[in-house]
């Protein structure tokens, strides 16, 4: 019997990435050593990961349609499809549409000129979402919308690597029972290559140490974390192999796709590990 999660990402067998982004009021709290609001750190991480993923699709003079994407925000305005109206199944966007929707922001970054001197240079960053924080946490509705999109995508791509759903949140769902039902349903949506994968990143303003990809909920500091851990999928071996190339320590067989109190850099890596089943031929 062939192993699961072994399909390569190609233009004929694309992948599906759905990002759920908590935009509730508590996301305005500070986060991380630089004390930025959690919403800002999360938005930056999502934009950074999407830019890297989209850039992977640039090949010679064309865009390779390796993925379909969705970003679902949930907060005081309910659930919002932040990349609405794509031509993919259930409004998922193609790589071309993702590029068409990007905005560009010029920032100044410091780089080493190779001789130990810091130089400031301008860099153009891609942006798709802006930080937002207000209202409650309708995570259940976001998970239900993700279910609908994932199911529509799987119906059209039954032999592809299954959808990966990445949830970035700072706390409890407004309706945990409903959210758990939706999360369970989401993880049961499957292709011939395996079940959909739901990974969760729990941002916290507490000074607790980061915990990454644990194999059990022992050591998680609060019930919210334990709850998010419980709805997180186990990392398949193929993604564990990817994680090891990213120098992510502590990942082992049985690790769940869950990080607690990740720093901004680790948040980006979390998004990358979840979004990088490399295109075929990648090394």
């Amino acid at each position: 019997m062939p192993s699961a999660y072994c399909e390569r990402i190609t233009t004929a067998t694309p992948g599906c990435i759905i990002i759920l982004l908590d935009q509730s009021g508590s996301m305005s709290d500070q986060f991380g050593a630089d004390k930025r609001p959690k919403a800002e750190a999360a938005a930056r991480a999502v934009n950074s990961a999407l830019e890297e993923l989209a850039t992977q699709c640039v090949k010679l003079e064309t865009l390779k349609e390796y993925f379909n994407f969705a970003i679902i925000g949930y907060g005081g305005n309910g659930v919002t499809d932040l990349l609405a109206g794509g031509s993919g199944p259930a409004g998922l966007v193609t790589v071309r549409e993702l590029f068409d929707r990007k905005k560009e922001e010029t920032v100044q970054v410091e780089t080493d000129d190779g001789a130990g001197r810091l130089r400031v240079k301008e860099e153009v960053l891609f942006k798709w979402i802006e930080p937002m924080a207000n209202g409650g946490t309708p995570m259940d509705a976001a998970l239900q919308l993700a279910c609908a999109k994932a199911k529509a995508w799987v119906d059209q791509h039954p032999n592809c690597f299954p959808p990966i759903i990445l949830n970035i949140t700072d706390g409890e769902a407004s309706d945990p029972a409903s959210a758990k039902t939706a999360a369970d349903a989401l993880r049961q949506i499957r292709t011939n290559d395996g079940d959909s994968l739901l990974f969760n990143c729990h941002l916290s303003a507490d000074k607790d140490c980061p915990i990454e990809y644990p194999t059990s909920d022992m050591g998680l500091p609060n019930e919210s974390s334990k709850w998010l851990f419980s709805i997180s999928s186990e990392l398949p071996e193929a993604l564990i192999a990817t994680a090891k190339t990213m120098n992510l320590s502590g990942i082992a067989t049985g690790s769940r796709g869950f990080v607690f109190n990740a720093t901004s850099g680790k948040l980006v890596k979390f998004l990358k590990i979840g979004t990088v089943k490399p295109p075929a031929g990648d090394k």
Binding site: R8, T13, L60, G281, K283
Partner: protein, 559 residues
């Protein structure tokens, strides 16, 4: 170990003609018949000894025409025959192609190149050196797709036994030039010039030797491109005469060596997307494969340039920047940085900056990030000894050299087990404007091939499958397949290769990745074809029919 008398394989001359250039271009109408009559006479004169022995030149002509929008697309044009140089007449009934080619051409260059590339890839591998002469007025639409199909043609030429040559003769009123060292030397500032430059072969070491013999000294990275006002003003006849006379006279390689080379792209992808490349140089007994890293742009181009350079000049013994010690068995004494610099010089002009600048900035940014590729190669050494045919091998990354002896895994370099394959193998890194470097030194070793051994050069997906098959003791399918490939050099060998890879991909036993294989075997006296396989085709065999193109063909006849 005794060796049999050398085989000789008739070289193949492919004439790719832009019908517009002949009829409506500068200096038109162009008299191709006179051009070829003088060319064949020169070839004959330069290769007298072999001509006496019945040397032949296989000729394929492919014509394309840029149909004006008001005209309907025209039908394809394709002739294939063999010329007996001793008598200067065809040995098969097909007529000479240079008459009345104004009708019935492929509707564009890309379709002509696409079919040509497929035909060359699937052609029986008899060790024929191949030269493609493209005569054009340059009025085609320059695009990445056209250049990609030309690249596939060049790769296809290189699997047959010697580095192929794609020689472009651009007939235009622009400033005459030839064998340009780099793109910036083009005095014609237009995208067509740059596109034709990239489509043309690198001169390389073998081309440079030819040019030196003609009194033209050019750097290795120069291109086989002539910009001329008319066919009469061209230099190409002299180049072609020297090339074919050398190809006819030189040995094609020992009869005891069986070599086969194959390429298959990812499932449902076109061959032009394949970033695995192979190159075979039978006269130098050198074989190279390279695998471009998929997430970088222009890695396929890097793999091609690595193969092209390494098959003529294998990488130095040590991947350092020191001059290696004297080694009588090893020609290349240059430090690694100079060897890699040549790879860079071959690769950098492949990037079409003029087109990337018109696209969103991300495309240029990606190109500037550079490219990466693995490589593996072997070169046979003199003399053979009691251990067999000695060879020196080199590997960087997860392309492997695997030796099978008596149906068992005898050796594998550099990876020994399927578990060792990772997503981040060591590679050659090139970046525009910077010194290229390997991420770690390449591994070099020596071995010996005995009669009956298989020596396989394979890129990662196939290497991993081969090693896992032996580890799991499920290698029976593999051995049957390799034996079929060894004994069948006909067009069906390609089909056998593709079907096996396709079947194993469906079972997830081979990753859905580009696959490249060079198979080398020293024939033992006991080697016989398995009953189910077709017979030995290494000797002369009837020329194959071209594949049925998507558009109908019509032969032109001499009046």
């Amino acid at each position: 170990m005794e060796t049999s008398p050398p085989l000789h394989a008739d070289p193949l001359f492919v004439l790719l003609i832009d019908a517009d250039a002949l009829i409506n271009g500068p200096g038109s109408p162009i008299d191709l018949k006179t051009f070829f009559d003088s060319l064949f006479t020169e070839i004959r004169a330069a290769s007298q000894s072999r001509v006496q022995a019945g040397a032949k030149l296989e000729i394929l002509t492919v014509a394309y025409q840029i149909a004006p929008p008001s005209n309907p697309p025209v039908e394809g044009f394709w002739t294939h025959f063999t010329l007996d140089l001793g008598a200067l007449h065809s040995v098969n009934p097909d007529p000479a192609p240079w008459i009345n080619i104004s009708k019935n051409a492929f509707p564009n260059l890309e379709s002509a190149l696409s079919l040509l590339g497929t035909w060359l890839l699937r052609r029986p591998q008899k060790g024929s050196p191949i030269l493609v002469l493209h005569i054009t007025a340059g009025r085609f639409k320059c695009s990445g797709e056209v250049e990609a199909t030309a690249a596939t043609v060049k790769t296809a030429c290189d699997i047959h036994g010697a580095p192929g040559i794609f020689y472009t003769l651009w007939i235009t009123e622009a400033h005459p030039q030839m064998y340009l060292p780099d793109v910036s030397a083009l005095q014609t500032e237009c995208n067509t010039a740059r596109s034709l430059f990239r489509m043309s072969s690198i001169v390389g070491e073998s081309g440079s030797a030819l040019l030196n013999a003609l009194g033209e000294s050019r750097p290795l990275a120069a291109r086989c491109l002539e910009v001329v006002p008319s066919l009469d003003a061209s230099h190409v006849t002299k180049f072609l005469a020297l090339y074919f006379s050398k190809a006819i006279v030189e040995q094609a390689g020992a009869a005891t060596l069986v070599t086969r080379a194959f390429l298959v792209p990812k499932e449902q992808e076109d061959i032009t997307t394949c970033e695995d490349v192979v190159s075979v140089h039978l006269n130098r007994r050198c074989f190279v494969i390279s695998d471009g890293v998929g997430t970088a742009s222009y890695s396929g181009a890097l793999a091609r340039t690595i193969c092209r350079h390494a098959v003529e000049t294998p990488p130095p013994l040590f991947a350092t920047n020191e001059t290696p010690p004297e080694d009588p068995n090893y020609e290349n004494q240059q430090p690694a940085n100079l060897w890699l610099k040549t790879v860079q010089d071959y690769w950098e002009p492949e990037i079409p900056w003029e087109r990337l600048e018109k696209l969103p900035s991300i495309f240029s940014k990606r190109a500037k990030e550079g490219a990466a590729a693995t490589m593996a190669g072997i070169r046979f050494l003199d003399p053979a000894d009691a251990d067999g045919l000695r060879f020196r091998g080199w590997v960087l990354g997860d392309s492997c050299v695997i030796q099978i002896r008596e149906n068992c895994l005898f050796a594998s370099e550099v990876l020994k087990s399927a578990k060792e394959f990772t997503l981040a193998p060591p590679v050659v890194l090139v970046t525009p404007g910077r010194q290229p470097k390997p991420t770690q030194p390449w591994h070099v070793w020596e071995g010996a091939l005995r009669p009956g051994d298989f020596l396989l050069l394979a890129t990662d997906a196939l290497s991993e499958y081969i090693l896992r098959s032996f580890e799991n003791h499920t290698h029976n399918d593999l051995l049957i397949w390799l034996n079929q490939l060894e004994f069948d050099s006909s067009r069906e060998a390609w089909q056998i290769f593709e079907e096996f890879v396709h079947a194993k991909r469906k079972l997830h036993e081979i990753e859905n990745d580009d696959v490249a294989l060079i198979l080398i075997k020293v024939r033992s006296e006991a080697s016989v074809a398995p009953p189910a396989a077709s017979g030995d085709h290494d000797g002369d065999s009837p020329l194959p029919n071209p594949p049925a193109p998507a558009i109908a063909l019509e032969h032109e006849h001499e009046p």
